[in-house]
C-alpha cells in the first residue's frame, strides 16, 4: 500500500498528477454520475433514413406508456422559440459571398439529412421507460435519394440537401496566390502530383456525450451539467439559442470529462434539445449517449478528397504548391467546421518548407452524413498529410533520400513568414530531423530491411516532418479571418489567509492534467507545496471568463496564470515592505520567502498572505486588503510546434497485415512543463494517428448512406496489442510568444504520424500512394500486383 504525497512543483519536472487520486479510486465525477432531485431521463427518436421527408409523427401510443412525462418533436421546438444551430465561423467564398449555411433544427422539422438525426425526444421517469416509449413513436418518412460521395453531391444529378443551396456547395474558399503558383509551376522542371482521401474518423472519446439540465421556473434560470471542452462558450450558445434572459440565467458545469479530442467542442443538437426539454417539463432531464448514438452523431473528423501538385527544380527544391480539396461537411455545418476546413487546414500546407508560391482551394460540400467538425489536430493533420506525402513522392521523383529532400527545403531562419497568413516564430527543423533519425537508428535501417526480407516480411521506413499552429490567437487576427469571439484565456488566482491558493481558469481539463500543471507552475512561483493549490475549472458560476480547451492551447491559460502569479508576488512585495518598514523595491522574493537584503529579515509567502487579509500592517487607503489577481492573456501569435516522426512497418505480403514495429518521434514543443504528461499526450496522439493510417475508417454505404461502422464491432479502434512501444525525444526551441516558452503538444502526435505510417507502407511496397486506412486486404492486393510486376 502506498500513500499519496504532495510535492513541491517545478517547471520541467515529471510531477505525478494531482487529479489521479480521485480518478483511480472511482471518485471521478462525470456527468452521467449525477442524479438530481426529480430526475427524468431522455431518449431520442432518430431517423433510420439518410435523407427523407418527415410526414406525420404519431406519439399517441408512446404517450400512453408507463412513466412517460413528455414527448417533443421538431415543431414543438420551433413553436417554443428554439433557434436553429448556427455555424460558429463566418467564411466567405472566393466571390465574396458568405458560406451557405443549411438550416439546422435541433430536432428535424420537415427533412432528415443523415442517419441518426434526432426527430423526437421522449422524457420519462426511468432510462428504460424513455427508451421503451421512443421505440413506440411512429414517424412517417418519405425516403429521398441520398448522397455520400462529394463529387457526386456536386454533380447535376445529385439530390439537393438544402432547398436554397444548389449543388450542395456551401462555399468555395481559397488562400494564397493563384497567379504566383501558376508562375512557379511554369518555371518548374520537375513536379509530383497526388490524389488522396483523408479518411473520415469517429472521435470516440470513451465517455459518451451527456447532459443533465435543470430548470428553475421561479427565476427563469437553468443549470446544465454538460460533458464539454468549453463550458463557458456553451453558456453563450445555449443562452442565445434557448432565449434565456442573460448569462446569469444559465450555469454550465463541466465536471470530469472523459476525453474530448475536439468532439466535445461543438454545440450539439441533442444537448440543446435536452436543455429545452428541462424547461418544458420543469424537472431535471438527463441524457447520456449510447455508443451507437455516439458513432452516428458525434461530429466526425477529416473526410477530405484532395488533389495536390508540387513544383520543383532539378535538385528537388520546392517552388510551388497547388492544392484542391473537397471537404465533406456532412448534412449541416457544425459549430467550428468552417474554420477547421479553411484556416486550420490550408494555412499549414507549406509544412516545414520554404515554398514561395502556394494556392489552395477548399470546397465545402453537404452530403447525407453526420456533420464533421474538429477532431484531434482539426485541419492540421489533413495539411501535414498532403505536404508530407508530396515530400515523399518528391524524394522518389528526384531520386534522393527521404531525409535529404526535406533537409533541402526546410525553413532555416526564424521568424519565417509563410505565404499562407502564418509567421513561424521559432524552430530548428534540421536539428529535430537529426534527433529523430538518431532516435530511430535511421542509418541502420537497410540492415533491418534485409533481416525482415529473410523472414519473408517487407519492411519500410517513413518520415514525416510536421508543423502545426497551436495556442490560437491573437483575437484580432482571428476576428479578421471570420471568428466571432476572443481567443484569450483568463486566470484568476486567489490567495487565502492561510496561504493556500485557488486558481480559476476558463481552460478546461479533460485528460490533459491541468490541475497538475497549473499547480506545478504556481507552486514553483509561490514556493508553496502543490497540495496548497486548488485548480477550479468547468463551472461558469465560479469562473468569470474563458474559452475552454482545444487546439493545444494550455500555454495560453498557463501564461495567464504566470502573469497573475507575478501580480500577486508584486503585491506581496508591497505588503512585506510595509511589514518590514522598507521600500518594496528592496524586497526580494525567491522560493517562497520575501527577503530584505539590507536587514536580512524574511517573511514567508504564507505570512504575507495572512498579513494581506489581516490588513493591519499596511495602510488600506494606499494598498487594498486581500490577495487576488486576474489576467486575461491574448497571445500575440500562434505557436508552431513541429517535429519529425519516423515509422517503421513490416508487411506480411501473404496476408497484407501491416505491423508498426517501431515509431520514434522528436518534437519541438518549446519548453516542456511536465515531461511525463507531455509524453502521455504524444503517445495518445500517435496512437490516434497510427490508427487512422491503419484501421480507423467511418464508412457509409454509398447508396443508402447508412453508417456501416457504427460500433466497435466494425470500427477499428487501436488496442494495446496493436501498437509498439514509442520512442520519444524533445528538441525544444522555446517560443517567444508567451512567457513560458511553451508551444503545445496535444495534437502533434495525431498530425505527424499518419503520413509517417503511409510513407513507410509506400516505402515497404515501393509504391507511390495508398489511401488510408492501409487495411490488410488493400495491402494484400498491392502485394499481389507487386508480385506480378516482378
Amino acid at each position: 500500500m502506498t500513500a499519496m504525497t504532495a510535492p513541491m512543483g517545478k517547471f520541467g519536472q515529471s510531477v505525478k498528477r494531482v487529479e489521479d487520486s480521485r480518478l483511480i479510486t472511482g471518485n471521478g465525477r462525470y456527468v452521467d454520475d449525477l442524479v438530481l432531485p426529480g430526475q427524468t431521463y431522455a431518449a431520442f427518436v432518430r431517423s433510420a433514413y439518410a435523407h427523407a421527408r418527415i410526414g406525420a409523427i404519431d406519439i399517441s401510443a408512446a404517450e400512453a406508456m408507463p412513466g412517460v412525462v413528455k414527448i417533443l418533436t421538431g415543431q414543438d421546438l420551433v413553436d417554443g422559440g428554439l433557434f436553429a444551430l448556427p455555424s460558429g465561423w463566418n467564411l466567405n467564398s472566393v466571390d465574396g459571398t458568405p458560406a451557405r449555411v443549411g438550416v439546422h433544427h435541433a430536432l428535424a422539422v420537415d427533412t432528415v439529412r443523415f442517419v441518426g438525426e434526432p426527430v423526437a425526444l421522449v422524457i420519462a421517469e426511468t432510462r428504460g421507460q424513455a427508451r421503451d416509449a421512443a421505440d413506440s413513436v411512429f414517424v412517417e418518412y418519405e425516403e429521398l435519394p441520398a448522397v455520400v460521395d462529394m463529387a457526386a453531391a456536386l454533380g447535376p444529378d445529385a439530390p439537393q440537401l438544402h432547398p436554397d443551396i444548389p449543388s450542395n456547395r456551401a462555399f468555395t474558399w481559397d488562400i494564397g496566390n493563384a497567379a504566383e503558383a501558376d508562375a512557379a509551376f511554369a518555371r518548374a522542371t520537375r513536379r509530383v502530383s497526388l490524389e488522396l482521401r483523408n479518411n473520415r474518423l469517429v472521435p470516440n472519446a470513451m465517455e459518451p456525450r451527456a447532459i443533465n439540465a435543470e430548470w428553475r421556473a421561479y427565476d427563469g434560470s437553468m443549470t446544465i451539467y454538460l460533458t464539454h471542452q468549453n463550458p463557458i462558450g456553451m453558456r453563450l450558445f445555449f443562452m442565445m439559442l434557448l432565449g434565456l434572459e442573460s448569462e446569469n440565467h444559465l450555469r454550465v458545469v463541466s465536471p470530469d470529462v472523459g476525453g474530448g479530442f475536439g468532439s466535445k467542442a461543438p454545440c450539439y443538437a441533442e444537448e440543446l434539445v435536452v436543455a429545452f426539454a428541462a424547461r418544458a417539463v420543469g424537472r431535471p432531464v438527463k441524457w447520456t449517449a449510447e455508443r451507437t448514438e455516439s458513432f452516428l452523431t458525434d461530429a466526425h473528423g477529416r473526410d477530405h478528397v484532395t488533389t495536390a501538385e508540387l513544383a520543383m527544380d532539378d535538385e528537388g527544391r520546392f517552388l510551388g504548391l497547388k492544392v484542391h480539396t473537397l471537404a465533406n461537411l456532412g448534412g449541416y455545418i457544425s459549430t467550428s467546421n468552417a474554420l477547421v476546413v479553411s484556416y486550420m487546414y490550408a494555412t499549414m500546407l507549406c509544412g516545414q518548407y520554404a515554398i514561395p508560391a502556394v494556392h489552395a482551394v477548399v470546397e465545402g460540400v453537404y452530403t447525407n452524413t453526420c456533420p464533421v467538425d474538429a477532431y484531434r489536430g482539426a485541419g492540421r493533420p489533413e495539411a501535414a498529410y498532403v505536404i508530407e506525402r508530396l515530400a515523399h513522392l518528391a524524394a522518389r521523383e528526384i531520386g534522393v533520400d527521404q531525409a535529404e529532400i526535406r533537409r533541402r527545403n526546410f525553413v532555416k531562419a526564424f521568424p519565417h513568414q509563410t505565404p499562407l497568413v502564418y509567421c513561424y516564430d521559432s524552430g530548428d527543423y534540421e536539428g529535430c530531423l537529426d534527433a529523430a533519425l538518431r532516435l530511430a537508428d535511421y542509418a541502420g535501417f537497410e540492415q533491418r530491411r534485409a533481416e525482415a526480407k529473410a523472414r519473408g516480411k517487407l519492411r519500410g521506413i517513413g518520415l514525416s516532418a510536421y508543423v502545426e499552429a497551436c495556442g490560437i490567437g491573437p483575437s484580432k487576427l482571428l476576428a479578421s479571418l471570420g471568428g466571432g469571439g476572443g481567443m484569450w484565456e483568463s486566470c484568476e488566482i486567489r490567495v487565502q489567509p492561510g496561504g493556500s491558493v485557488e486558481v480559476l481558469t476558463g481552460a478546461h481539463n479533460h485528460g490533459q492534467g491541468h490541475q497538475t500543471v497549473y499547480a506545478q507552475i504556481i507552486s514553483e512561483r509561490f514556493g508553496i507545496p502543490m497540495d496548497r493549490i486548488t485548480v477550479v475549472q468547468g463551472d461558469t458560476d465560479r469562473i468569470q471568463a474563458g474559452t475552454g480547451t482545444y487546439g493545444s492551447r494550455a500555454s495560453v491559460g498557463l501564461s495567464a496564470a504566470v502573469k497573475s502569479c507575478e501580480k500577486i508576488i508584486e503585491k506581496g512585495r508591497h505588503i512585506v515592505g510595509y511589514m518590514l518598514g522598507i521600500d518594496p523595491g528592496e524586497v526580494d522574493f525567491a522560493e517562497g520567502i520575501y527577503t530584505s537584503a539590507a536587514t536580512n529579515q524574511t517573511v514567508a509567502f504564507t505570512e504575507m498572505a495572512g498579513a494581506a487579509h489581516a490588513a493591519s500592517s499596511f495602510p488600506t487607503d494606499k494598498l487594498e486588503p486581500g490577495l487576488v489577481a486576474t489576467t486575461f492573456f491574448d497571445p500575440p501569435n500562434f505557436t508552431y510546434p513541429a517535429g519529425v516522426h519516423v515509422c517503421e512497418v513490416e508487411i506480411d505480403p501473404e496476408t497484407g497485415v501491416t505491423e508498426v514495429v517501431a515509431f520514434n518521434a522528436a518534437d519541438d514543443f518549446g519548453n516542456v512543463a511536465n515531461p511525463l504528461i507531455v509524453e502521455g499526450q504524444v503517445h495518445g496522439g500517435l496512437t490516434q494517428g497510427i490508427a487512422q493510417a491503419l484501421w480507423e475508417n467511418a464508412v457509409y454505404d454509398p447508396d443508402t448512406a447508412q453508417l456501416m461502422t457504427a460500433s466497435y464491432m466494425d470500427y477499428g479502434m487501436p488496442r494495446a496489442d496493436s501498437l509498439p512501444e514509442f520512442g520519444l525525444a524533445f528538441w525544444p526551441s522555446p517560443t517567444p510568444v508567451n512567457p513560458l516558452g511553451m508551444k503545445g503538444c496535444g495534437e502533434a502526435g495525431a498530425i505527424g504520424s499518419p503520413p509517417a505510417v503511409i510513407n513507410a507502407v509506400c516505402d515497404a511496397l515501393g509504391i507511390a500512394h495508398v489511401d488510408m486506412p492501409a487495411a490488410p486486404e488493400k495491402i494484400w492486393r498491392l502485394c499481389q500486383e507487386r508480385q506480378e510486376a516482378l
Partner: protein, 264 residues
C-alpha cells in the same frame, strides 16, 4: 433491453420445464453474445432461463479416449484446465484466445456452439476434431449439430449439456482477427487424427465447414505447402467491410498452411 423475466433453475429438469412452458423463453448461458443482442433490442425473449450454475452442465472430465467439457464451462476454465492442456492443448489455446479475459470469464462452450456465430472459434474445433455434442435429449456428431450460420440441430427447449472431444496432440488453431471486432475474420482448426487430417474453417460467412479437398490432399501424401485456395470453393465465403470473399478465401489457405506447419 426490453422487459423480460429471469429464472435461475436449480436443476436441468427444472430448466427444461421452464423452457418448455414458455415459448418465448430463451436459455441464457454466459450471455456474452446474448447480452449485447438484448441491449441492442434485437431480440425480445419473454424469459431468460439461466443455465450457468446447473450442476449437470458443469465440469471438465477425462473420459476414455478424450475429454468431456460441461456446457457451462467458461472459456477461461477450458484455457486454464490442466486436463485440457494435457489431452488437447490446441483447444486450450483456442479457448484462451476467444474475446478478451472478461468475456472468457463468463462465456461458455455450450453458449458458443448453441449460438453458432459464423465467426465463432469453438465450432471449428468441434468440427475438425469430430467432437460429439450431448444435449438434454440426444448425442449428435458435430457435423450434424452445426447446420449453418446461427443455426444448429437444437430443437426448441433442447439444450446442450456437454461436448466430448477426442484426445489429439497434433492440432492447432489460428485465428485471423477482424481488426475491429477481433472476432475471426477467418479461423482455421487443423487436426491430425488417427483417421487422417481434418480441417475446419470458421469466419467464411455461411457457418463453419470442413475443407475436405485439403484433407484429402494431405491424406494422400500431398505437401502442406502445396495447399492453396485453388483447392477451396469460393462459395463458402461471403464478403463484408472487413474483407471480400476472395480475401477471406485466400486467408483461409494461408492460415491453414501456417497451422499445419506448427504440427511438426
Amino acid at each position: 433491453m426490453y422487459e423480460l423475466a429471469y429464472s435461475r433453475p436449480e436443476s436441468l429438469t427444472e430448466a427444461l420445464a421452464l423452457l418448455a412452458e414458455d415459448e418465448g423463453a430463451q436459455a441464457l448461458s454466459g450471455g456474452q453474445t446474448l447480452m449485447p443482442v438484448l441491449r441492442a433490442r434485437l431480440a425480445m425473449p419473454s424469459r431468460l432461463v439461466d443455465l450457468q450454475r446447473l450442476p449437470e452442465l458443469a465440469g471438465i472430465r477425462l473420459v476414455e479416449g478424450g475429454i468431456e467439457i460441461g456446457a457451462a464451462t467458461t472459456h477461461a476454465e477450458v484455457a486454464a484446465s490442466a486436463h485440457v492442456r494435457a489431452v488437447l492443448p490446441a483447444l486450450a489455446d483456442l479457448a484462451g484466445g476467444i474475446g478478451d479475459p472478461a468475456i472468457r470469464h463468463r462465456g461458455t462452450i455450450g453458449g458458443s456452439i448453441a449460438n453458432n456465430d459464423p465467426a465463432a472459434c469453438y465450432p471449428s474445433a468441434l468440427l475438425a476434431l469430430g467432437a460429439t455434442v450431448t444435449t438434454s435429449r440426444r448425442t449428435l456428431a458435430a457435423e450434424e449439430f452445426f447446420t449453418g450460420m446461427f443455426s444448429t440441430a437444437l430443437e426448441p427447449g433442447e439444450i446442450v449439456t456437454a461436448v466430448r472431444f477426442p484426445a489429439c496432440q497434433r492440432a492447432a488453431y489460428i485465428k485471423f482477427r477482424n481488426p475491429a471486432s477481433r472476432f475471426a475474420l477467418v479461423g482455421a482448426f487443423v487436426a491430425q487424427l488417427p483417421s487422417g487430417y481434418r480441417i475446419a474453417i470458421t469466419g467464411g460467412g455461411h457457418g463453419v465447414f470442413r475443407w475436405r479437398e485439403a484433407e484429402q490432399h494431405l491424406d494422400g501424401g500431398g505437401a502442406m505447402a502445396a495447399i492453396t485456395e485453388d483447392m477451396l470453393d469460393l462459395g463458402h465465403f461471403t464478403g463484408d467491410l472487413h474483407g471480400s470473399a476472395e480475401y477471406r478465401h485466400h486467408i483461409a489457405a494461408v492460415i491453414v498452411r501456417r497451422a499445419l506447419s506448427t504440427l511438426a
